[in-house]
């Protein structure tokens, strides 16, 4: 009955903008997952947990510094670093011994980590909802063609391309980036020319996890920081990586765009059944491109 009942140009434009800011978070998390998947061949189910830890760390740092703007900005830097430290420990301590195992083993292993992290978060932060505010300059909204657009979402729209650019520079213009791309294609060959593949893997793993932490930190002011936020994101991130092409960073961009935009436009077009839009898009993509839209590194 209310199919496409309230679509106006301004509303559509608005939905696209809002959808793009959601895309930012999805892209940041999915690109980390994709990086680890592409280079290390680990389907890291615990990626969502690291995103959750990133959000909780943001809360802790921001609250420790009084909950104001400076607290948030520092948290935005410190929380991903904290997640990075956690990831160094688990990579050096555990993962680095398991790279030769088959995927199913690694999948189960990382799944075990989601359970461990889930309980750890409960032990450390308890089960109450946590929430932090966006820094003052990004609070509230401004009008775009008569409809409100939250300032914080504008900030996300700026951050997204910056992270994409940074990742591109890292993987294409730096030596370690080039090595890691080579390791993704043929890890034995890279080892054979005298490069310590194990440390390259560690580096990539940490970068991927820092991205998860950054995603968690960025999302913290817009939603509830609570247990369970890991499950939601990990499913979406995996879908994005799959439709984009496993291990392909631009695939993550494309997948996140498809997922984020179909979601927000679906809400406008057919609000009662909005939930199915992004998943239908995933199905359509997979029917026509079973290996993902862009070239997968697998």
């Amino acid at each position: 009955m209310e199919f496409a009942s309230n679509i106006t140009l301004s509303a559509l434009f608005q939905q696209v903008l809002v959808g793009l800011s959601k895309t930012t978070i999805l892209f940041i998390v999915a690109s980390g997952l994709s990086l680890i998947l592409g280079v290390l061949r680990i389907p890291n189910v615990a990626h969502g947990s690291l995103y959750m830890i990133g959000a909780f760390l943001t809360y802790t740092v921001a609250m420790f510094l009084g909950g104001g703007s400076t607290g948030f900005w520092l948290a935005l830097i410190l929380a991903p670093i904290g997640v990075g430290l956690v990831s160094i420990i688990i990579e050096r301590g555990l993962f680095c011994h398991l790279y030769e195992r088959e995927h199913l083993m690694l999948l189960l292993f990382t799944f075990a980590f989601t359970l461990v992290f889930g309980d750890l978060v409960k032990l450390v932060w308890g089960s109450d909802y946590r929430s932090i505010s966006a820094p003052e300059i990004f609070q509230g909204s401004f009008s775009v063609m008569g409809l409100p657009f939250p300032r914080y979402n504008l900030f996300l729209l700026v951050i997204g391309p910056l992270v994409a650019l940074g990742l591109w520079l890292l993987t294409n213009k730096t030596k370690i980036g080039k090595i890691s791309r080579a390791a993704a294609v043929d890890r034995e060959m890279v080892g054979a020319v005298g490069i310590n593949v194990s440390w390259v893997f560690c580096f990539v793993f940490v970068i991927g996890c820092v991205l998860a932490g950054l995603g968690g930190a960025l999302v913290a002011p817009t939603q509830n920081i609570t247990q369970g936020m890991d499950h939601t994101i990990i499913i979406e991130a995996f879908l994005i990586v799959i439709i984009g092409g496993l291990g392909n960073m631009w695939g993550a961009v494309l997948g996140a765009l498809i997922f984020g935009l179909t979601d927000s436009i679906g809400i406008l077009v057919w609000p009662q059944f909005a939930i199915v839009f992004p998943y239908t898009a995933v199905v359509i993509v997979l029917v026509f491109f079973p290996r993902g839209l862009l070239k997968s590194t697998w």
Binding site: E2, N6, Y129, P150, I267, P271, A274
Partner: protein, 405 residues
């Protein structure tokens, strides 16, 4: 010789135990089994139920218990899963021999335990599950609801909204049982109370939806007069956050059951939207009566925090059990049920009656609007209106209809 001595001593001790055991079992404590979700986000609600229950039980035990018997309770974590909760319920009944079961914030589990208790003929006090089916369509002699439900909340929302001038509505909510039940409850009652209302459209999102901004902007472009938000539990906080970020509350009035509850407002701090219309069963500052103030003080002394709505549910559950056994004069399930049917007890929010027909506690509902109050680092509620229990309860005729009679 030594061995024989030892054997005799052991045998002797064994016989003593054998004799003492039946004696002591006569004054065996009354056992209550609590099954609830103590892990995950739901525990912010369920911990208060347990803690306030303990508060009331400790008080009566210090006075020597009920009918000379102490009340003991054991908890089991259902992890929000029906199968885990149900097997815990069976274990509590068979191994722990509990006299009473209570708990669960999960409606599906509450209905499952209710069914089990009907077969076992054991009283079950549902403390936080909001499904109207518990005392409605699926109600029976052994189940009691110690909390408001979707029928009550829906009717309360409708009664409150009908007094306001809005005509064009939009409904949005969690796409599951609770969301739809609340939305239907509000809407069906509102249509009866004010036939000119019009529904422009609906949006439904998945439970645990992280970002509500796209939903809000879509609703704004439809330009209704007011919005009914049928979301509960953990989705309330992110929704209000998105409402604050988009200025939704300033552009459009919206009603959300539990928006005025402390569990929702506290995590948001001062950065929460003002002017949101909400309903709740309990506020630590309202009603401002000596009973409520002393309950808040007592709770705060023991646990170092102010009680949330769950505390009221836990506290009255304990009191219905205590008063029920006292009235029954005997620890017997059937006698207890006869005793508490239609019983009225004192509570922090005044007298509460358990309706005899459907075993639903007749809660008043407080409707108010969120506001900032100096001295608090979270939003408070103003313009509180009490919607008395008898006005917001579904009628017995409606319950009979739901039960197919």
């Amino acid at each position: 010789m030594k061995k024989a001595c030892l054997a005799v001593t052991v045998l002797f001790c064994f016989f003593i135990l054998l004799f003492i055991y039946p004696l002591s079992s006569d004054a065996r404590p009354i056992k209550v089994g609590i099954i609830d979700c103590y892990s995950g986000p739901a525990s912010t609600y369920t911990n208060d139920v347990r803690d306030a229950f303990k508060l009331a039980v400790d008080k009566i035990n210090a006075k020597g218990g009920v009918l000379g018997r102490k009340i003991e309770f054991t908890t089991r974590d259902s992890k929000f899963k029906v199968d885990i909760g149900l097997s815990a319920a069976k274990e509590l009944i068979m191994r722990e021999n509990v006299d009473i079961l209570m708990g669960t914030i999960n409606s599906a589990l509450a209905l499952g335990i209710s069914d089990l208790c009907k077969k076992e003929k054991l009283p079950f006090f549902a403390t936080f599950s909001k499904s109207a089916k518990i005392t409605g369509a699926k109600g029976h002699r052994y189940v009691f609801s110690m909390t408001e439900n979707t029928a009550l909340a829906g009717k309360a929302g409708a009664v409150g909204l009908a007094k306001r001038p809005y005509v064009k509505y939009w409904i949005a909510g969690d796409d599951y049982e609770y969301g739809h039940a609340i939305a239907d409850g509000v809407w069906n009652n509102l249509k009866q109370l004010k036939p000119e209302v019009k529904l422009l459209g609906q949006s439904w999102w998945k439970v645990g939806e992280p970002d509500f901004t796209p939903y809000i902007t879509a609703i704004l472009s439809a330009k209704p007069d007011a919005v009914i938000i049928a979301t509960g539990g953990r989705d309330c906080v992110p929704f209000l956050k998105a409402a604050q970020a988009t200025g939704f509350n300033k552009r459009m009035p919206f009603f959300m059951h539990t928006a005025t509850e402390l569990s929702t407002l506290k995590p948001l701090g001062l950065n929460a939207p003002e002017g949101v219309i909400g309903t709740s069963n309990y506020h630590f500052f309202y009603p401002d009566t000596p009973e409520n103030n002393s309950f808040v003080k007592e709770f705060k002394n023991v646990y170092g925090r102010v009680p949330k709505v769950g505390a009221l549910y836990g506290y009255i559950t304990a009191n219905f059990i205590i008063k029920g056994y006292e009235k029954a004069g005997k620890v017997n399930s059937e006698k207890l049920i006869d005793a508490i049917e239609g019983m009225t007890i004192d509570s922090p929010i005044g007298n509460l009656t358990l309706r005899a027909y459907d075993h639903q506690v007749m809660f008043p509902m407080y409707m108010g609007v969120t506001t900032k109050v100096p001295g608090y680092d979270f939003l408070m509620v103003k313009d509180l209106v009490t919607l008395p229990g008898k006005d917001v309860m579904p009628t017995i005729a409606e319950i009979k209809k739901a039960r197919g009679k």
